[in-house]
């Protein structure tokens, strides 16, 4: 048997619906025989016709409705059709879900699934990674699973958490990643994972860039260069301890993210490591992000805009020579 990242997300939702009556799925096209633009809820409406509900094209109201339902005891999972469209729900996410517990002492257990990241030919409005925007504001947990196993267990964890979770699932991984079976439990939420051990350089990354980084680590291993790859798993909370411990071992830090270069997760990691573990570094930290333009449609441009194994390998090699 083999299960994809996308199937893991579907399986997690099926299990959640079965195990917990408070769970319902809310979003555009998630219901009916269709099951979502990416089929992440395919078949679920058949089993749970009243708990897998299509919505109007109203991101603000979709999230608002989920918040209201969560306040009154439900555990909604919201699917955004693409992460990019969550921009029109951002106010409810940041200013309503993100502030509610702090203001009223009543937590808002919603999970918002954001199909994120670039794929070939998707262009400026179907490719974005928005984790840095959601992580910047208080009150939200931001997950960025990079493996099939994490896609599964982290989604189950997300729904169990009493606070709002923005769950960034990467579209590029949907079909590309496969596992043999699904675990029952994963690492605790907020804990980073050493995806590969190494002693020469630490790559801190998350989501689809974990796979690119692992490829680079494999490639460089053939040259006897040992790269440690840290998969953050959640960018908020960010597991500074695991990152610092890794940098303590390697002395070198390369941060890789797929989103825009100004600010964001890679800047945050570097700011933490340099302010809390300055003496651990034997060389200047390096980061790799996408370019500071909208995400291009054409594959020629997209593959240059998106950080990939080639660039990661080049920067890693250069950093190893520092």
């Amino acid at each position: 048997m083999s299960i994809t990242y996308l199937e893991a997300i579907r399986e997690a939702q099926a299990r959640l619906l079965r195990d917990d009556e408070r769970v319902f799925i809310y979003g555009q096209d998630v219901g009916g025989t269709f099951g979502g633009a990416f089929k992440a809820t395919k078949g679920l409406a058949k089993e749970f016709p009243n708990r897998v509900l299509n919505t109007p094209i109203s991101e603000d109201a979709i999230v608002g409705t989920a918040i209201g339902a969560a306040i009154k005891g439900m555990r909604p999972i919201v699917e955004m059709q693409f992460a990019d469209f969550s921009s029109t729900a951002l106010n409810q996410i940041l200013n309503h879900a993100g502030t509610h517990y702090w203001r009223t002492n009543i937590p808002v257990p919603i999970t918002i699934r954001l199909p994120s990241g670039g794929t070939k030919g998707s262009g400026p409005f179907h490719s974005q990674s928005m984790e840095s925007i959601y992580a910047h504001y208080p009150g939200l947990i931001v997950m960025t699973p990079a493996t099939v196993e994490d896609a599964y267990t982290m989604l189950i964890d997300a729904v169990a958490i009493d606070d709002p979770v923005v769950y960034c699932e990467h579209k590029y991984l949907y079909y590309h990643l496969k596992a043999d079976k699904l675990p029952d439990k994963g690492l605790p939420t907020g804990r980073a994972r050493i995806a590969r051990e190494g002693r020469d350089l630490t790559i801190v990354t998350y989501s689809a860039m974990v796979q690119e980084s692992l490829a680079v680590a494999g490639e460089l291993a053939r040259e006897n260069l040992e790269i440690e790859v840290v998969d953050l798993r959640t960018v908020k909370p960010l597991d500074t301890d695991t990152v610092l411990a890794s940098v303590a071992r390697t002395g070198r830090l390369l941060c890789v993210g797929e989103s825009f270069p100004w600010g964001g997760a890679t800047a945050e990691v570097i700011a933490r490591v340099t302010s809390e573990g300055f003496h651990l570094l034997d060389a200047a930290p390096v980061r790799i992000n996408a370019k500071d333009t909208p995400i291009p449609y054409h594959p020629n441009l997209w593959s240059a805009h998106r950080p990939g194994a080639k660039m990661i390998a080049a920067k890693a090699r250069a950093l190893l020579k520092e």
């Binding site: 319902f24 109203s58 409705t65 209201g68 306040i71 502030t99 947990i141 606070d163």
Partner: protein
């Protein structure tokens, strides 16, 4: 007596017998006015930090929003709903505590003034962004339906300004799609802050929006308490009975500044002469007197009772400790072990 007053038709409610809960409503209005006058004087005396936003002139509409809701119903008041909040069951000490920043208030000094609520008690705590509360109310109703509850309704308030937000539109539409038992009470007080209606919308009557969403719609004269009670009360009843969502649009004039920092000098004299510019509290009291529903001594005792309640609430809140930054846990999520970089 049921007033549907659809499409802005004027009714002659003032000549009819008053609503059976008229006096009860009057007393909530009186309490709200007394409380808000006190808040204004505290504000003028420099004892309130931030803004003070009052519902002067809107008490009749607001009280009707709170009065027909029962335990288990959801209420989403906005900034001019002191009367409705009290009628719904908010203790006025919560108001005093929130305005004065007491640590014992529902917002514990973290949020202030009209940004308060107790979602656990079905009184939603508004965020500032107008329109955002409608879909949240829908969601709360959806949860009740999911959980098999029966016989509940939700009521969400909005101003004519807030009706122009995208969030309001989406909330209204999704309410209709979900067919939840929702009443939206929109108060057109003819201004959004300083902006008059002609720069807010361009339709003849905002109640005309109801049909386009599949709501049932009613217009009311918000200075006429009986009409407010009749129409809003019956809208609540209809929603509870499973009719489509209800929209009630009330016409009034805001009889204060937007907040107490605002002298409202932009309100024209012509506007002040409009029939909807009358003070609903005065009209209500006049009717109480005219119809001999209460004598002067009773009225006086009600007034004193309101003043006493207000004074007590303020005194209580004033004695309470302010929040202390050192004792705060500075934690925006409830799952303590997931806090990013705990202090």
């Amino acid at each position: 007596m049921l007033q549907t007053a659809q499409r802005g038709k004027k009714t002659s409610a003032n000549k009819a017998a008053p609503h059976e809960r008229f006096l009860e409503a009057f007393r909530w209005m009186l309490l709200a006015r007394t409380l808000e006058e006190k808040l204004v004087s505290l504000y003028r005396g420099g004892q309130i930090t931030g803004g003070v936003y009052i519902g002067k002139g809107q008490e009749a509409v607001s009280v009707a929003c709170g009065m027909f809701l029962q335990k288990g119903d959801i209420f989403a008041p906005l900034i001019r709903d002191q009367a409705g909040r009290s009628a719904f069951g908010e203790p006025i000490v919560d108001v005093a505590r929130t305005y004065l920043g007491s640590r014992q208030g529902p917002m514990r000094g973290r949020d202030g003034n009209i940004h308060r609520g107790k979602p656990g008690d079905d009184q939603l705590a508004m965020i500032s962004h107008l329109g955002a509360m409608v879909s949240v109310t829908v969601g709360a109703l959806l949860a009740k339906r999911f959980r098999g509850e029966k016989n509940f309704v939700g009521l969400s308030c909005i101003g004519e300004g807030g009706m122009q937000t995208g969030s309001f539109h989406e909330g209204m539409n999704i309410a209709a799609v979900e067919q939840v038992p929702l009443v939206i009470v929109a108060t057109n007080n003819h201004y959004a802050y300083s902006t008059p209606n002609d720069r807010e919308f361009a339709c003849a009557d905002l109640v005309d929006r109801a049909k386009g969403y599949g709501f049932e719609g009613y217009s009311i004269d918000g200075t006429d308490l009986s009409m407010c009670l009749d129409v809003i009360g019956s809208a609540v009843k209809r929603a509870r009975a499973g009719r489509p969502p209800q929209l009630v649009v009330a016409s009034v004039l805001r009889l204060s500044g937007h907040g107490e920092h605002d002298d409202a000098s932009y309100v024209t004299d012509e506007m002040k002469r409009q029939p909807f510019a009358q003070d609903c509290l005065k009209l209500t009291e006049k009717k109480v007197v005219d119809l001999e529903m209460a004598d002067a001594a009773t009225l006086k005792s009600w007034r004193e009772d309101a003043a006493r309640q207000v004074d007590e609430a303020i005194a209580t809140a004033q004695k309470e400790a302010a929040p202390d930054a050192e004792k705060e846990d500075w934690c925006a999520i409830s799952t303590r072990e997931l806090v990013d970089r705990p202090e």
